[in-house]
Symmetry: C2
Subunit: 547 residues, 2 copies
């Protein structure tokens, strides 16, 4: 028996033949979209639906959810983020059965419910970069449903600033005999630039409304507390200055927004301009505007864009990656690579930290997933190029007799109590219970304790690199856990000893007076201040305009 | 003083204006290439020269080396691989001064000499993926000199199967106001497909001869020894079958070629077809042909292509990633991502291993660099999706009280003695001496011992995951180091104890009889056999044709 070696190509031809009636020169009318999907997709297909934490192929998601479950069933969905109701409707309606994904923020509770009812079979929960990697190994999409700002009549795509995941999804699909369908906001005669060549795209649909984009990285400075200002001062003086952190990534949140807003004030007063925080792998956070305007920042490469930042980014092409049309070119896969391998520090917040320093955002009823943090928040063991920060961290972590190597700085920054007085430090992560309920093979840990270099709270900084035993590590964490039960159970003598050795550093030890931690230090105290810093270029979404 | 925010864009306009005389609709004549470079590049510029371990922008490299050092000097070269004489000529002639790179195989000795003479200032030695990451952070090229198979009159590029590094270099440069110059083998009316959109490319030059491509991954089966067959049997039965390794990457070399050639024979006889080795991140190794033809392999995504494999790959589109034109689309950045995050195992050879399991290919007089191995040959700490192999390795490595997590399998496969009876196992790596001489901040270790899961020699397999102390680890390594000095100094009792615990496994323990390790087991014993397996589709380069 001679084997056929072009099943995939034949499958592609078969699908295209069935869809022939709907398309004119690759264009399909919006009212034919459901029928197109029913014609092109086959039961059991692996389908990639573009949707990350910002832009969404929302029209195509809704069309897929409207398909006839008699015709489309048992699909295997692969997608970065589950965030729209339609993403779960396809499972509820029996169209899809299996799911591989990264993040499910807004749908985390409903997802957990559907898993409990056996309506969804979870393959695995990933970080973005590993899911992208699997698109080229064992999770290659048969059909990709993506979104772009515009297409021309040939089928070239223009994504504008929100390029995000589109290139990696399309490359994996188009180059393995898959089918690529793009929803676009408009079809134009001439694109401002080409982000995806026409030859990689099979069908283009002008959607009835523009794709949804979520302003996920906007934090209103008005909501930053003085405790957060204090913690930001600790981060800047106790970590950034100490190691000379020049290339970095910040997580989402008010804690890190406070750091960004202290760069032109507090960090500048310490003489740190030009010495720290020059290169970023970061979305265009509005909170970074004052640091950019003050000349702190040399470059920013972004995973995606941020609503309202379009004109500002275009006017600051020395700093951001922009195209010939002036607008940003983001790229999640490449920016995650940059964050993993070319940054010396990741700093982020979390919900819970245990006694080993493991942290998680999972609770028993929510399968939230990972997003990008574990990728950035871990030591890149394959990194070989040196920098001052990386060498110093590596030297601190060195054990006698071991080969010297560098080390990434991974900082967990939390207030000891979160809202509703929930302690951030716990004996046991809720992740254990979720793993049991959702039958996950391992507890969903966001950042593992042995990847963490520092835990930072309002009580001080615990440098875990300097801890020599598991017991020291536990006491270092207890030693900054404040009045939580975990903090109260500290061994006072051991904690004082750790402080003497510089493993724990209090604000006092760093010459930081708590009473100086005032909101007055923030370079911008309101969204309006940010607009002012930007010279009117930043155009915040309505929900952030309080004037 | 108002700051200008478009220095980069202005620099770009200035350079383009100077080059205006040379170009007609983006095309520049080959005889004007040196003048174009002198017009576009400015002293001190960061210049990326495309050259990886396969295809080379060799014409542009030679043109750059011919530039006038009065006009072009102090350049900062960033490039994947140093492999052509011209790559070093630019330093010798005083055109370039600083170098950031990954790999320097053929030029390693000359490079070490120039460093010793202070003619080259090495920024750092990277793996490919981290260098690509830095292109978006602090090593963004000002000018990129790349190569492609063909261009059309608009400037769209077609790379053919050797796409390799081109997309990542061009994206970093074009979207930060840099200038992209491409040498192409030909200019055609209509490209078979578009790999790089015209809008990302500034100048196209039809080079006087096709770009150089090196068949780096071809291994002649005739040179595989029976010891290598034995080691391959150990790998298949003792590791691949044991863990159910289904997604993997192989290093270059005869050791791993032997494994590839035993899949359709030995592995098939063990009933492993469909259970192991289905998904690969791998260049199209000719030695993989029999496994593909036997139905072992489901998919292969490639960093680059391999000379002679073009027709075979095109005819096996179910397995390889190919474009609408039928030829492969490779992509080094994405395949490295796949190898890092979506593979459960990396196996490779090395020159030296020390008592902690650290390995290196550095010798005192050669700065060879790293390439891709450290990226694949390390545990991806940010990985969160589970697989059977990853969970089993993680469980073996687990320490009491620590959060359970998965683990990558990283196997070092070496004969105890290499050519000229040089022992593979040493007390101290030559890398220490090289670090001192070349003033590197750390010894250039290829794979760190604590990232290695198994050491495999003809004497057996040492499972380092199961070692509980540094001493056990050392004895496990000594226990498979044969008659080398390191092996002879083993503590026999401890080694026997490790064998009883299954930490060390001899061929006997796995039911493998040394006398069965015959070359007859190889699915192909010559290059001609490979051609036969391929049905005449594989067309080996002349140097591999001995008939």
């Amino acid at each position: 028996m001679t084997r056929e070696w072009n099943d995939l190509a034949q499958g592609r031809s078969r699908r295209l033949a069935r869809a022939a009636g709907f398309a004119q020169a690759r264009q399909v009318r919006a009212e034919d979209a459901v029928a197109l999907l029913e014609a092109v997709i086959e039961p059991g297909d692996r389908v990639c639906l573009e949707g990350n934490n910002q832009k969404q192929a929302d029209f195509l998601a809704q069309c897929l959810a409207q398909a006839d479950p008699q015709r489309l069933h048992d699909l295997h969905m692969v997608q970065s983020v589950l965030s729209l109701p339609a993403h779960l409707d396809v499972f509820e309606r029996g169209i899809a059965r299996r799911l591989d994904f990264s993040f499910s923020g807004p749908q985390a509770t409903r997802l957990a419910g559907l898993v409990a009812e056996n309506r969804i079979e979870i393959g695995a929960i990933h970080t973005y970069l590993e899911l992208f990697g699997r698109y080229f190994v064992d999770l290659t999409p048969r059909v990709a449903l993506v979104t772009a700002q515009a297409a021309d009549r040939d089928g070239n795509l223009y994504t504008g600033p929100n390029t995000e995941d589109t290139p990696v999804i399309v490359e994996a699909t188009a180059f393995r005999s898959g089918i690529v369908i793009a929803q676009v906001n408009e079809i134009v005669e001439r694109l401002p630039r080409v982000d995806i060549p026409a030859g990689w795209v099979d069908f283009v649909i002008a959607a009835p409304r523009p794709n949804h984009i979520e302003p996920l990285f906007t934090r209103d400075p008005a909501q930053i507390s003085e405790i957060q200002v204090l913690m930001a001062m600790l981060a800047i003086k106790g970590i950034y200055a100490e190691y000379g952190v020049d290339r970095l990534n910040h997580g989402i949140g008010f804690d890190t927004a406070a750091i960004e807003l202290l760069l032109p004030t507090y960090a500048e007063s310490l003489g740190l301009k030009g010495k720290i925080c020059r290169h970023w792998a970061l979305n265009p956070h509005p909170a970074l505007i004052p640091a950019i305007e003050s000349g702190f920042v040399q470059s920013v490469h972004s995973f995606g864009s941020e609503l309202g930042m379009e004109r500002y980014v275009a006017a600051r092409s020395d700093v951001f990656f922009t195209g010939a049309d002036g607008s940003m070119r983001s790229n999640r896969a490449l920016s995650q690579t940059a964050g993993l391998y070319a940054c010396d520090l990741f700093i982020g917040s979390t919900l819970q930290i245990d006694l080993q320093g493991n942290s998680s955002t999972a609770t028993r009823d929510r399968i939230a997933g990972f997003g990008g943090a574990p990728n950035m928040g871990s030591d890149a063991r394959g990194r070989r190029h040196a920098s001052a920060a990386w060498l110093k961290a590596g030297a601190e972590a060195a054990r006698p007799g071991e080969m010297p190597r560098g080390r990434k700085l991974v900082v967990q920054m939390v207030e000891t109590f979160r809202e509703h007085m929930a302690p951030a430090f716990v004996d046991r992560l809720d992740a254990w219970e979720l793993a049991e309920r959702a039958k996950l093979p391992l507890p969903p840990v966001m950042i593992y304790g042995d990847d963490v270099s520092h835990v930072l709270t309002e009580e001080g900084i615990a440098n875990l690199l300097l801890c020599r035993t598991a017991e020291e590590r536990e006491q270092a964490i207890r030693g900054v856990a404040g009045y939580t039960a975990v903090g109260l159970q500290r061994d006072r003598r051991m904690v004082e000893n750790l402080r003497d050795r510089g493993v724990i550093r209090r604000p006092d030890d760093l010459g930081i007076r708590t009473r100086d931690a005032s909101r007055d230090l923030l370079a911008a105290r309101t969204v309006k201040d940010l607009v002012r810093w930007s010279g009117g270029l930043y155009d915040p979404p309505k929900r952030f305009r309080h004037w």
